[in-house]
């Protein structure tokens, strides 16, 4: 557990970057620190590993004040992922990842073995090991940054806008991989971002800071969306809060409807419904408007507009599957991606309205 106790940071020149911050960061969870640019996120993060010293107040890790610890020793026990990765340009990928083990005095072979292991765990192929950072894509560099932070297996990970410089598709991959890793590792993660959606997606709890370094609210994502503390938080959360909140509530038990399905090459029966789902080998391919099909169904007849939700999806994804389907029936699949049935938006809405979520 990391605790901020009434922590203030005033820079020489008078800028108050963090103002009376009190915050508890629970062990084994992700705490997202979010707020507009200049609100003191980086300053807060860097006070944890003493790259910045607070002007007033106390920061402790598991009850021990960080001010009493040797700074370099403290830092070797805390992983740090920096904005734009901050990799060492003069070292190979493997040597970058092995940095902290080497600093901790592990021998070369053990350090390299650990580095190889972590490269693999963050999804970097082994043949990148001898490249230099400049030879990697932005997404790969960020993965190296994450592997480097984890290489000595520290219990705490500080991440400062680690994914803000990569394109949206790669960002999404990195986010979901972070969640996958975290499910195995249970690190205490402080994740700084200016992107509220990223904070809501990754954080077990989200701390919203306002300019001037004042904590506006700290809450679980669903609670934040359901009960913003003030206008600032509400504005910062932005539009579509009702829809977005559906990502964080449990899925009510919903009646699954069977569906008359077609395979490619089949001719729709005479009494076919308006829209039929085309399924090949159990996997849904898309819908066809039966009236428009001449003879056998082929891929050119498919309407692919509908999204597909898994049985474990949130109400938001299920609702989207229903609303995006041309038949207005949302396609649900199991873990193997095989079709299991359809749902209707109206039925889901009724359950959500009744508060059964």
């Amino acid at each position: 557990m990391i605790r901020f106790d009434d922590v203030t940071k005033e820079y020489p020149g008078g800028t108050v970057a963090v103002n009376g911050l009190s915050l508890t960061i629970p062990t084994g969870q992700i705490t997202a620190l979010v707020g507009p640019s200049g609100c003191g996120k980086t300053t807060s993060l860097r006070m944890i590993n003493r790259m910045i010293e607070p002007t007033r107040g106390l920061i402790s890790i598991d009850g021990k004040g960080v001010a009493d610890l040797d700074a370099a020793t403290l830092r070797r026990g805390i992983g740090y992922v920096i904005q734009h990765a901050g990799l060492f340009p003069h070292r190979t990928v493997l040597d970058n990842v092995a940095t902290v083990p080497r600093l901790l005095g592990w021998d070369r072979a053990k350090s390299r073995a650990a580095a190889q292991d972590w490269m693999e765990r963050v999804g970097l192929s082994a043949d990148l090991a001898d490249r230099y950072p400049s030879q990697l894509s932005g997404g790969q560099q960020q993965r190296v940054g994450v592997a480097r932070a984890l290489a000595a297996d520290p219990p705490i990970l500080l991440m400062d806008e680690p994914f803000s410089a990569v394109d949206p598709v790669v960002r999404q991959q990195l986010q979901s991989e972070l969640l996958r890793l975290q499910a195995e590792l249970h690190k205490t993660i402080v994740f700084v971002t200016h992107d509220i959606d990223e904070a809501l997606l990754l954080g077990n709890q989200v701390a919203v800071l306002r300019v001037g370094g004042i904590l506006a609210q700290v809450a679980r994502p669903a609670d934040l969306l359901a009960a913003p503390a003030d206008d600032f938080v509400a504005d910062f959360l932005g539009h579509d809060r009702g829809i977005r909140a559906l990502s964080f509530v449990g899925m009510p038990r919903l009646p699954l409807h069977p569906e008359l399905t077609l395979a490619l090459g089949e001719v729709p029966p005479a009494d076919a419904p308006d829209w039929m789902l085309v399924v090949e080998g159990g996997h849904p391919l898309g819908w066809v408007r039966t009236a428009g099909v001449q003879g056998a169904v082929d891929t050119s007849d498919l309407n692919r507009s509908g999204t597909v939700a898994s049985l474990t999806a949130s109400p938001r994804e299920v609702l989207d599957a229903a609303l995006s389907s041309p038949a207005r029936r949302g396609v649900l699949v199991d873990d193997a991606g095989e079709f299991v049935g359809t749902v209707r938006a109206s039925e889901l809405a009724t359950l959500l309205e009744a508060g059964q979520a």
Binding site: N49, M51, A72, T73, L74, R75, R76, Y80, I82, Q83, H84, A85, G86, L87, F88, P89, H90, R91, T99, V100, L103, R131, Y132, S134, Q135, R148, L158
Partner: protein, 210 residues
């Protein structure tokens, strides 16, 4: 060619002397410039003072510096140490700025990452800052080396022998072969220095070509 064929041994001796007088100050100068350049980086106020002072030193005429050295060091007038010391001053004058700028060229996020990983000051300097400063340092060293080779030849005027002797002697006695040998030898020596420093720089920076 006629002149060279009868004086090859002399030229070789002078060449070796010239190498020594230009190279030793280069090494010592680098060693002195490293902490000074680092200090110029470390303390904001020190940068303009150190860089301006060292820049001014470079404008002192070499002959004047050669003559002043015995007064400052208490050495004998003809002692080659005077030349080495003076050349060291020039090297430092050129390299302080290179070191400071080279260290300053290390990207801020790389520096921050090194600190966050748990590097302590001196080890970070050796493991991160200095290697990354090598390209800028190499550029500075190449300038200093060529400048040293050329300035050293002035030492003939205070009686310290090196390739410059061929220039003064060849000129005074109007021996074209000697004069041309002197010029070509200085030129080739400067090129050789440049080539070696570039080679070392390249060997130390494989990542810049990756």
């Amino acid at each position: 060619m006629g002149w060279l064929s009868t004086h090859g041994g002399d030229v070789w001796t002078l060449l070796l002397q010239h190498v020594w007088l230009a190279a030793v100050p280069l090494v010592i100068g680098l060693l002195v410039a490293l902490p000074l350049g680092w200090a110029a980086r470390r303390w904001r106020a020190a940068y303009p003072i150190l860089v301006t002072t060292s820049g001014l030193l470079y404008t002192v005429p070499s002959l004047a510096l050669f003559i002043l050295m015995p007064l400052i060091l208490g050495t004998r007038i003809l002692d080659p140490i005077n030349v080495v010391a003076a050349m060291t001053v020039y090297t430092v004058a050129l390299l302080v700025r290179s070191v400071a700028d080279g260290l300053g060229a290390v990207p801020e996020d790389v520096r921050a990452a090194a600190t966050a990983m748990g590097y302590r000051g001196f080890r970070r300097l050796l493991a991160v800052d200095l290697p990354l400063a090598v390209p800028v340092l190499t550029a500075g060293l190449r300038v200093a080396a060529v400048s040293n080779v050329s300035i050293v030849s002035v030492a003939s005027l205070i009686g310290v022998a090196q390739l410059g002797n061929l220039l003064t002697d060849g000129y005074n006695r109007a021996i074209n072969g000697e004069l041309i040998t002197g010029i070509v030898a200085c030129l080739l020596l400067a090129l050789a220095f440049d080539w070696i420093i570039r080679g070392i720089g390249r060997a130390l920076t494989p990542w810049t070509r990756a």
